[in-house]
């Protein structure tokens, strides 16, 4: 158990330390063109061997590799932090989207891992050069202004760069005064301004050294004919220098076609729209988040917020949060803008959110293109506690009718299922088992009663039989003259006769007292006296002087007389 925990702890620590956020991989610029120099930099607090993994095959590493160490002091805490950085230049030979990294920093047995970076490489923009005079060609060096287009649409980005040709290999430049353009306020550098690579190029049949400098993407304002004014600089080769002033370039900016669609967001380029609802199962009054993502290439940074059309029952709270994820490339602004809306739903039911659409101007096809999201269904449960009036007042102006008309049902015929109750069949079906149960109870009771009666009758019959046997036995005893047995039998016979008379249901043997009490109760006092006498005589003749034949006969006769009376 201890060992397992230790291994788990080591593994977790290694994993956590391995993801050290202090190893940072960055690429500058975040997007570039084919052949354009990029710098891959790894910055870390760990002093170790830095290695960048997963460099794409189309990446051609340059000669420039630098390693630096930098110390920073936090003046609040006094803490000194040392950073080690490794920079590698290079360029991509093919256009596409590439993932660079992660980079690893190895120190002893430990390896620290960095993040990865995605870079978009576009095709190299074809540039048009400004005019060159014959005088310029004769100079040791001359400059021209390059643009990707000479005629653009209003809002379309324009790529401009300064290009220098020279008969010597320049090693240094100075006193650069950049080119300028009226209305070109929105200007962003492209590529790595710190790096200017010289190459040998043939220009109008002459082999010249050349380099490109101060490349910018410009979003000009206004329409008409514009001039990109010349730039100037001094270039050096050793201690020799030459100052040059470039020619200028003419640009025509065309207005966009008239009557743009109502949902035109001022975007020029290629764009797309996407919508994300964070929740679709809601309760009346709930607030949900709707994200509208506008992505594409062109003048994205200057595009307007799309207007989502919300039906009645949806209320937008406040302005949307805007998150911009774009970068400036030679094609314009590339990336996306996310608009996050907080929407309260005040109706219930299956509500349909109509698509959100945008229109943009497509430069290639020279027309407005409309693109939209898909329709969304929001399921809203009723909430009785929600007070609808508050939001109704806010939202009534622009909101549409609730779309609850779409859920038509398929044909469903219901046969009459209410025709049984109250019919004779129903009452018969319910009544029959009830009656059967009651009848069963009655029959069981009757059966029990008759069984009891039979038992009593059998007992009486048995006792009657026993009585007859007793009398027969008495007759024998009378003849045999066995006095003791005779009188005992007289008493027993008398008791048996009374048991029969009283209908005793069990085998209880009556006592003399019980017999007399019974006769007294039934108000047969004379019979009671006679029974008393006969029982007294029996006791007397059994335990005192014994009787003779005559007394025996008279007692027997008296017994017979009593039995007859009892039977009657």
């Amino acid at each position: 158990m201890y060992r397992t925990l230790t291994i788990l702890l080591i593994f977790t620590s290694h994993f956590l330390l391995g993801q050290d956020e202090n190893v940072i991989l960055s690429v500058e610029p975040p997007s570039a063109d084919v052949g354009e120099t990029i710098i891959i930099q790894v910055k870390t607090k760990v002093h170790g061997d830095i290695e960048i993994d997963n460099l794409p095959s189309s990446f051609v590493a340059g000669n420039s590799v630098s390693n630096e160490m930098k110390t920073e002091i936090d003046y609040n805490t006094g803490a000194i932090t040392t950073y080690y950085s490794h920079a590698q230049t290079g360029a991509f030979g093919k256009s596409g989207t590439y993932t660079i990294g992660p980079a690893y920093v190895k120190k002893g047995n430990k390896t620290y891992k960095s993040n990865t970076v995605v870079i978009n490489i576009g095709d190299k923009a074809k540039m048009t050069s400004s005019d060159v005079t014959s005088q310029q060609l004769q100079d040791p060096a001359f400059g021209i202004i390059q643009t990707n287009k000479t005629t653009i649409y209003e809002g379309e980005p324009l790529l401009v760069s300064a290009k220098v040709y020279s008969h010597f290999n320049p090693t240094y430049l100075d006193k650069y005064l950049p080119y300028s353009m009226k209305g070109a306020i929105d200007k962003h550098p492209i590529g790595n301004p710190a790096v200017a690579q010289t190459s040998l190029e043939q220009f109008k049949g002459i082999d010249l050294f050349s380099f490109e400098y101060d490349k910018n993407i410009i979003f000009p304002v206004g329409t008409g004919d514009f001039k990109v004014n010349s730039y100037s600089m001094t270039i050096y080769q050793g201690y020799q220098n030459f100052s040059l002033t470039s020619s200028s370039a003419d640009i025509t900016i065309k207005p966009l076609p008239e009557d743009p669609p109502a949902d035109f967001i001022g975007a020029v380029g290629i764009f797309n729209i996407e919508r994300i609802l964070e929740e679709t199962d809601l309760k009346q009054g709930d607030v949900f988040i709707m994200k509208v993502i506008v992505s594409g290439t062109g003048n994205l940074q200057n595009s307007l917020e799309p207007i989502p059309i919300l039906p009645k029952g949806f209320v937008v709270y406040g302005d949307p949060q805007i998150e911009e994820n774009f970068s400036y490339t030679s094609r314009g602004t590339e990336g996306s803008i996310i608009y996050t809306y907080n929407i309260q739903v005040s109706r219930y039911g299956d509500l349909t959110l109509p698509p959100t659409s945008i229109s943009y101007f497509d430069i290639e096809n020279e027309k407005y293109i409309t693109t939209s999201t898909v329709e969304s269904i929001v399921k809203v449960k009723k909430n009785k506690d929600f007070v609808i009036e508050e939001v109704e007042a806010i939202s009534e102006e622009n909101l549409e009718e609730v779309d609850m008309l779409t859920d038509l049902r398929k044909s469903n015929r219901q046969e009459d299922q209410n025709n049984l109750f109250g019919t004779s069949v129903y009452w018969l079906s319910v009544g029959t088992p009830l009656m059967a149960a009651l009848l069963f109870i009655f029959l069981v009771k009757r059966r029990k009663q008759s069984e009891d009666k039979i038992a009593v009758r059998q007992l009486a019959r048995r006792k009657d039989q026993e009585l007859s046997d007793c009398i027969a036995h008495l007759k024998i005893l009378l003849v045999e003259n066995d006095n003791n047995a005779f009188y005992s039998k007289i008493e027993a016979t008398l008791k048996k006769a009374f048991e029969l008379e009283i209908h005793l249901e069990n085998e209880h043997i009556l006592s003399k007292k019980e017999i007399i009490d019974y006769l007294n109760k039934t108000n047969r006092l004379e019979l009671a006296e006679r029974v008393k006498d006969i029982l007294a005589n029996c006791d007397q003749y059994r335990f005192g002087f014994s009787g003779n034949n005559h007394t025996n006969q008279s007692i027997y006769n008296e017994l017979e007389s009593i039995l007859k009376e009892l039977k009657s």
Binding site: K382, L405, D407, Q414, F421, I441
Partner: protein, 247 residues
């Protein structure tokens, strides 16, 4: 014999043609509704209801088409009819609530049945009748076995079973009766016109009118032309039969 056969064939053919025609009208209604041609959709669904008055979906769709046509009173009637067949149809109840809110924003709509009744009555009267018959049989069996068994523990269980059966039998009978009277009886009506007049007595109009979407309870239907009704707050009115849409 031949005449009887002819009669049977005639009845079958009439029934089948009626069903076919209803199905056609239903589909036409759906198409018209989808095309937002709500008046035509209403006509088609009404036709279906006339031919097959037990088609619940036709009432539901008629209600939706009436919403589309902004005839909220008629829509309420149609959805109330749906509730008559299936009292726990929450979608129909929500639609009535919606229509009622359009007509009477300040008033709250409440269904005829409370949620418990709606749940119980949504099971058909026949099912409750079968349940009561079953309970009756169970009672009988419990009594028979109770009398026959000697073991006290079993006798006790059987006695509880018999007692429960009787209670459930009574309960099922009551619900069956209630469900049948709710679904077969005509006790309520909806005002489907913008407003209808009320009367002091037969022939003499009162100042009060009843507005579209109101549900009234019928309390006296003795007269052939007039009916005495109660509105949702308990006020009594005399109105004409022809002004009401019965549910």
């Amino acid at each position: 014999m031949t005449t009887l056969f002819k009669h049977i064939v005639f009845i079958l053919l009439t029934g089948l043609s009626s069903l076919y025609s209803a199905a056609n009208s239903f589909n036409e209604g759906v198409i018209a509704h989808s095309d937002k041609n709500y008046p035509l959709a209403i006509e088609k669904f009404t036709q279906v209801i006339q031919e097959t008055p037990n088609d619940i979906s036709a009432y539901y769709n008629l209600g939706l088409s009436n919403i589309g046509n902004e005839s909220y009173g008629k829509a309420i009637w149609a959805f109330e009819k749906v509730l008559k067949f299936t009292p726990n149809d929450s979608e129909a109840a929500e639609k009535i609530d919606y229509c009622h809110m359009q007509l009477h924003p300040s008033e709250e709509w409440s269904p005829i049945l409370n949620s418990l009744e709606a749940g119980l009555y949504s099971i058909s009267s026949n099912m409750w009748s079968y349940a009561s018959i079953l309970m009756s049989v169970l009672f009988c069996l419990s009594i028979v076995f109770f009398k026959r068994h000697k073991a006290l523990s079993i006798k006790r269980i059987l006695l509880i079973s018999a007692f429960s059966s009787v209670l459930l039998l009574l309960f099922a009978t009551l619900i069956a009766s209630g469900a049948q009277s709710y679904q077969k009886g005509v006790n309520h009506a909806i005002i489907t016109q913008p407003f209808i007049p009320t009367f002091i007595d037969e022939g003499n109009t009162a100042k009060t009118t009843l507005t579209e979407g109101s549900r009234v309870k019928l309390i006296d239907t003795d007269s052939l032309e007039y009916v005495r009704v109660l509105d949702n707050i308990g006020d009594e009115y005399l109105v004409r039969f022809e002004d009401l849409a019965f549910i």
